[in-house]
Symmetry: C2
Subunit: 178 residues, 2 copies
DNA sequence: CATAATACTGTCCTGCAGGACAGCATTACG
DNA sequence: CGTAATGCTGTCCTGCAGGACAGTATTATG
């Protein structure tokens, strides 16, 4: 592993050509590209490497969810992750053993459990974002303050609206049209 | 399955509280939220259901990558997906059997193979995005045309810059700092 | 107060994601 | 022209993701 040629073929790869995307706007194409970029092993590998080595993907996702939504019950978590309850139980068990989350009985319904991030868990969850934060800073380097503000505000609005939209989609139910 | 109570607990869940995110801006938090939303089983389930039933997740991802980047060689694909070459071979084999992609020898290096979407594959890959497109339309329903334009342009710029940034990150290598 | 329904956990088990390796082209190097 | 390096595919194999199910605690229903 001495003189390993590292420069891949990034150069020859043409980034998204908007003409390939016959959509109402190029917005979806770009949002998708964003997600592809974020999900690429280059980025995810870095992130997992950063965030306390031993976090497997579901734990990682769980921390993100807890940071985003606050305390959640295992069932909600299972819903969100799309896995069975017993599997969630195991994930949470691991995270609890690592001292990243805490279980407590829901005072409203003492059958239920609330999963909450411990301070260490918040730290870890934020650590997950640390690289992203640096990346974003780097990306925004050439931007004017007003462009940043504008983009931030629009993204915020978009996310708010999207949350509403998805909630409506859920209410409509998931059965596909006949 | 008669009177199944479907309304989850969407209501009680407070969406992203920006104060939880001690970042330079709320941008990262919102971009992350966007990705969490997109990755949620509610959305992904819909998308997979739409797009010709039988697409498993890696195939799905492969189609997205091919649509985004054009023809790719299996090694590049393996790189991008973060899996081994032999596994890619299997995925591509399945897609080829379904008539969605086509293998051809790379004229530049006849050892190598180029994977390209067939017309049917392009169709399928676009189908993957169809729901997203509808969702975005719905989300943007209340937006003014100029806000949409502004947001689209800013997102495009952001993605372009991010692509550059990630390319630079790759060149720097992936070794974590000591 | 008895029975049923809901929320979680622990144990057991299976399928298959996905790597290791060998094999077959093609190209690069001396 | 021989030997090594590179690109892909097929076969074989394993680990573990993650479900089914039974068990326990709490709450709802009549």
């Amino acid at each position: 592993m001495a003189d390993e040629d590292e420069d891949h073929d990034t150069e020859r790869r043409r980034p998204l050509n908007a003409d390939d995307f016959p959509y109402r706007s190029t917005l979806l194409a770009n949002l998708s590209a964003l997600i592809l970029l974020w999900d690429s092993p280059a980025v995810q590998g870095q992130i997992l490497a950063k965030s306390g080595e031993s976090l497997d993907q579901p734990s990682h996702q769980t921390l993100r969810l807890l940071l985003a939504w606050g305390s959640l019950r295992p069932t909600a978590l299972a819903d969100e992750l799309g896995v069975g309850a017993s599997y969630v139980s195991k994930i949470v068990g691991r995270l609890e053993a690592d001292g990243l989350v805490q279980r407590s009985t829901d005072p409203d319904d003492r059958r239920a459990t609330l999963i909450t991030l411990t301070p260490a868990g918040v730290e870890a969850a934020r650590g997950v974002y640390a690289l992203g934060d640096r990346m974003i800073s780097e990306v925004l380097e050439g931007w004017s303050a007003s462009d940043i503000d504008r983009y931030t505000a629009l993204t915020e609005r978009f996310v708010d609206d999207a949350i509403g939209s998805i909630a409506r989609m859920r209410e409509r139910g998931l059965r596909p049209p006949p």
